[in-house]
Symmetry: C2
Subunit: 759 residues, 2 copies
């Protein structure tokens, strides 16, 4: 029968396949903190293997420091798997989630995962990369300890498992509700399971972790009825109900407790496949059942796998590139893939979602998203969305406004996930996302609402030194940690608010926040030439080490790097710092200087992997710095730096990220830089020109137009831009206007192996 | 201005006031387990003082055994109060609740309640009964330690506090989310508070107790803005969010944790009143705000107090009695009051409620109720509702059917509260409530649905020996505790199902369950003459002590009492036991025999207070027994017994209940017996006639008709009924038909001081 679904299937198949250029293992070694599992673009489910659980504990069973490596549950060097979790952050610098770990096993039932490599007690399987594959929306691995092949795919809200078993009278599928990514134990608040019938269960898990009050509801459907089931409770919590009346642990359909693990038993024939469809919901098990029915109503693993692939091709095809070599192509498309993993969808198919006020809300006129790692993503990820994901970025802004409306603090999100504000990092960068969308005419969100939300946020005096910032016109270092970083970022955010006010035609507010946007001047020490911690008495702090990233008024950066953060007025900052030439010396020194070991490893996000000289690419405060040469007497040095960084810090293999991908920000930097420009000042309509890495690119813009980026005379040596033109019109200077991009046509770079003389 | 509200107010005032005959302190001493606080009929809020917290702990801070006395938080002998909680069971034999303890204090802030009488540390106030008053819907007390007068009233979903303060710069209102009734500590799962503005907070508390997974949401509004606020967290739970960035404990509007106590500070003038409106919701803080707005939109304590009084008069006036003395009148109306306290409303004003599946549901075509203490209340409370609360009883049955539909076990409630089944006690007596309503033509619930739910319930093999009961035709004592009690009750419940099936015209099902209803015969031991534990091999168990209430196949009763539980076929049971005369000897012995101390105090529900001979009135299995003389050769002995019991076991003062009121069952026994008849066999349309205590009564029946019970020649000595007639027609025998009651008119008892000879 020829159905519409088939037609779509065929038509997708005739299109180009970009997923083959994506290597989901990129960044899964070292500190990339990404996951190789199955997900669809911005999907609520990230179904991914959790590896080497035994190394998370020392011999005594206590957590060891390596937890940080497991922010997304997986390390490429590992050799054991304990199961597949349905939620994983991509590239974050702190973690949570890991919900609903599922593991198939055979043999005598073992219900606790391995916890120590010495005893080998607990369920786990060895695995090898030879028998492991991943592509967008699909992951497979042989669980060699059990002879089980595991395959995973996903829709937006449903994780789909397919396990191929050997013949066994003791086949099990374990649902481990105890397992958590990161600070594993004692993170559960409550768990609840109902065995609705012999092939469907529902339930929820409630945790307190990075998100203080978080609940994930689920509905889990098995393709084959289990022959028996049961659970164990691993906590010591007693309750007074008369459950003692029952043989609760076996075949009793209602389970609850802080820490429970359930199992489902099967007889399997050789090669028998058992499927699991696990639907999630932010609000209820009824919601999860709706999601299941709407997205994966039937047992057809390959269909869902193909749909996931199609969804990925739809997104990846928005930027079609030709590269100098195939490794670059994989690096590029994997970066593009990584920019489509979060923020994630956070609502049921009927639009119900959990709000920050812990009430169930209905999204009206938008789709709700969560996971806003804004200190990272406002820099390049949201600006990238303003080229290729405008509808989603609009929804994300509306989600942020809903967050504000539901916030008892009346604040836009700082770092939020799953109906919680986790308060991670500094600034109020939602204002930047809003300002950037406005600067680029993206979205139809309510401008007055956005302005009000931004102003509310910027005036919560108890927030992170903000009252002092308002009173002193800088954050005094004796009153607040990271005082300089906060002063610089608040000032930038205030500039963003002035831009929003300007769009709203509110000149008084614009002026007010323009003034606040200049407060960065108050922490510049002309004697040392650095942005420097200032005390409440107006004096600069003594004992200042501009190399140190700790206790020097900065966070995740030092004065050399972070002190250059005045994107709203770079010419003035450069004047402060001695003018174009003097500032260029600063940059030259930054990239060239030796950095002493004592400054490394203090923070896990600043490692040798992500450093060139004293420039830290592995963390965000420096992401705009390579482009700052554009404002100096030697703009061509930007071209050198960005090409160096793209070559040194990114790659097509598991070690291809030099630090946390930070919810896509690191990858967004690459995507922009590879096509030749970068949003140094989000909230403005300008990009700084760099040196494209690709040979050419075709951007399918949201307004249905196409921008062709053509790079003439491209080669690994020809890193210097001689001339840039847009539709034949020469670009004078080093800036590209957003509207020139959006008009479509051809952006032509002419390259050569020597810098163009600065005119 | 003359408004509708005023008109209603005046018109109510002109009606008779029955509330003055209610003494809410009746049963607050010893083991009545009732509360004296403010509530409206069947209201969701029971706002009541919590006393002498220090006696719940021994010197080491461990719970001591006296906890059981505090099932409703209050003991009349106590001299200290630690605050006012918004939820309290009425008369239950196990406990939970005590949500959202509020306490006003002055002086230096003390945030933990007193825990030990020796150290006197912690907040608390002494109080005296001289400065304490309670009437239906209203409670007041002087908190002498602080010089604060506390007044409480309530609507269905809102508790209204009014505190009159002395002059103070340090006045506080404490919201203690740690406090729980019963097994106080370690009962919280999570608590959450938002300070929405300077006079409104919202939040929830989640507990695991008798109800395993229970959450109460609230919205709390203050009549005066607080000048400052804060909280302390008393648990050791850590979470990973960056809350360390804040001075969280003071004036930070978002609080969460397992165990938190919040405080709100005020300056007060001498005699200044501060009001609190605390709205509850089963589903959300939005729901609580809706309830607040709908029920108590403004600050008028006296209006809400008057409305509560009016609501009580509406219910109490349904049975208007004249008594021989004023003490009896108080006893009667307090009993009637106690029959209107639970089941409670359990839905928001918009019909949203939490289902047993932990999902939010909308009640369609009914009002949702919770707190079903069915092993107690099916006996006389629900039958009483079938006279005077038919609409509510219909809603309760629909609530039970919803419970069934949401139950993963596909069972009707056993003992359920707050969207949880707590599995307390035995049998599946929801079937009795349904059968009784059908026998009396009450309600419009779906009969087929009810039959299906009853059958499902009666066939859950893993439930409490039910599989064995089905297989063996009795519950074998070697397989299940309380084997005889279960066999007897299952057999009765199965008879109820046969009655439901009969109404549905399903003769096959009727016959099937009629057969099961005879299984009681299988545990009758003709040798001993008792219902007796039987083993799975078919033999009766050796070592049988019919006096003992423990380990003898019964629960909360012994073979002498509980063994008489065959309400569905008393003539046959009496034949089994030797015929009318022999059975009368059994009853005579039961009421006359000395009971050894060793049989007392084993269970807290069997105390000397509730015992006559070996007859235990303080617990339910015997409630029908005084009426069983009607089936013997000397029916008049029923008249003696019931008059004796009414006199000995009930009274108008704090000691007026001889045992737990059991959610109204004990009081319902009194209400029925006082007007002269009792539903010995719920599910039939017959009542057993007793000896009325009142002089006359006017029952406002649900069908708008009126039954006048007229007692001629009534006196304390004239306890024997000579003649009973209904509308002039003599009643032959000792039974009264429900339809005779519902036709209205006059039920005439003629009394004398000697028994009428049995014809």
């Amino acid at each position: 029968m020829f159905s519409f679904a088939n037609k779509e299937f065929l038509s997708q198949n005739t299109k180009k396949d970009f997923t083959k250029y994506v290597n989901p293992f990129v960044g899964t070694s070292k500190m990339g903190h990404v996951f190789p599992g199955a997900t669809v673009p911005f999907g609520m489910v990230q179904l991914s293997p959790q590896t080497n659980f035994e190394v998370m504990f020392d011999e005594d069973g206590a957590y060891n420091r390596k937890t940080y490596e497991y922010c997304a549950g997986y390390q490429y060097r590992d050799t054991t798997i304990i199961g597949f979790s349905h939620t994983n952050f991509s590239g974050t610098g702190h973690s949570d989630l890991g919900d609903l770990l599922v593991m198939p096993t055979i043999g005598p039932l073992i219900l606790e995962p391995i916890k120590s490599s010495s005893t080998k007690k607990g369920y786990y399987s060895t695995f090898s990369h030879d028998k492991e594959n991943a592509s967008p929306g699909y992951y497979e691995v042989d669980l060699s300890s059990y002879g089980i092949k595991a395959e995973l795919t996903a829709s937006e809200r449903v994780g789909y498992h397919q396990y191929t078993f050997p013949k066994s009278q003791e086949a099990h599928i374990i649902l481990d509700l105890v397992y958590n990514v990161y600070h594993h134990e004692n993170k559960n608040i409550w768990t609840f399971i109902r065995v609705e019938n012999d092939s469907l269960i529902t339930g929820y898990r409630q945790t307190k972790g990075w998100a203080r009050t978080r609940t994930v509801y689920f509905a889990m459907s098995f393709s084959k009825p289990f022959k028996s089931y049961g659970h164990e409770k691993y906590d010591s919590i007693k309750y007074d109900g008369f459950y003692r009346r029952f043989e609760q642990n076996e075949n009793f359909p209602e389970m609850a407790g802080k820490d429970i693990r359930a199992y489902f038993n099967f007889n399997t024939d050789e090669g028998e496949k058992i499927g699991i469809r696990m639907a999630l919901s932010p609000v209820s098990t009824i919601g999860a059942l709706k999601n299941l029915e709407a997205e994966v109503p039937e047992w057809d693993f390959n269909k869902i796998k193909q749909q996931a692939k199609n969804k990925w091709n739809k997104e990846l095809s928005k930027i079609e590139v030709e590269t100098m070599d195939s490794r670059q192509k994989v690096t590029f498309y994997t970066a593009l893939y990584h920019t489509n993993l979060s923020p994630i969808l956070y609502e049921d198919v009927d639009g119900q979602y959990l709000g920050l006020d812990q009430n169930t809300h209905q999204s009206e006129g938008f789709t709700n998203y969560t996971i806003f790692s804004l200190w990272d993503t406002y820099r390049a990820l949201h600006p990238l969305f303003n080229l290729t994901q405008t509808e989603r970025n609009n929804d994300m802004i509306k989600s942020m406004l809903a967050h504000h409306d539901q916030s008892v603090h009346h604040m836009l999100p700082i770092w939020s996930h799953y109906a919680n504000e986790n308060w991670c990092m500094i600034g109020y960068h939602a204002t930047s996302v809003i300002a950037d969308a406005l600067a680029k005419n993206v979205g139809d969100f309510d401008l007055e609402h956005a302005l009000k939300a931004a102003i509310n946020t910027a005036n919560v005096r108890y927030f992170d030194g903000l009252g002092d910032y308002i009173d002193y016109h800088y954050v005094p270092d004796d009153k607040s940690h990271s005082s300089v970083s906060k002063t610089l970022e608040y000032a930038y955010n205030d500039w963003c608010i002035s831009q929003i006010a300007s769009k709203a035609g509110r000149s008084e507010i614009m002026n007010q926040y323009s003034k606040r946007s200049e407060y960065y001047k108050n922490v510049f020490d002309s004697n040392s030439g650095f942005m420097r911690p200032k005390l409440s008495d107006g004096s600069f702090r003594a004992n200042f080490d501009p190399m140190d990233t700790h206790g020097q008024g900065f966070i995740e950066g030092n004065a050399w790097n972070y002190g250059l953060y005045v994107p709203q007025n770079l010419p003035y900052m450069i004047d402060l710092m001695g003018g174009k030439k003097q500032f260029r010396y600063h940059l030259d020194s930054l990239f060239a200087m030796e950095i002493a070991d004592k400054y490394i490893d203090k923070h896990e996000d600043i490692t040798r992997d992500g450093i060139i000289g004293n420039y830290v690419h592995g963390n965000e405060p420096g992401h705009h710095i390579p482009y700052l040469y554009n404002w100096t007497d030697k703009p061509y040095k930007t071209q050198e730096r960005v090409r160096t960084i793209m070559k040194a810090m990114y790659g097509p293999a598991e070690d291809g990220l030099c630090g946390n991908d930070d919810a896509g920000q690191m990858s967004a930097w690459y995507v922009f830089s590879a096509i030749g420009f970068y949003p140094v000042t989000p909230g403005s309509d300008e990009y700084a020109l760099g040196s494209p890495l690709i040979k050419n690119a075709k951007l399918e813009l949201a307004n249905q137009k196409t921008l062709n980026v053509v790079v003439e005379n491209q080669s690994p040596q020809n890193i210097y831009v001689q001339e840039v033109s847009i539709n034949g019109k020469l670009i004078v200077g080093t800036k590209l206007k957003h509207k020139d991009i959006m008009n479509g046509g051809t952006l032509l770079f002419k390259m050569d192996r020597t810098p163009k003389k600065h005119e």
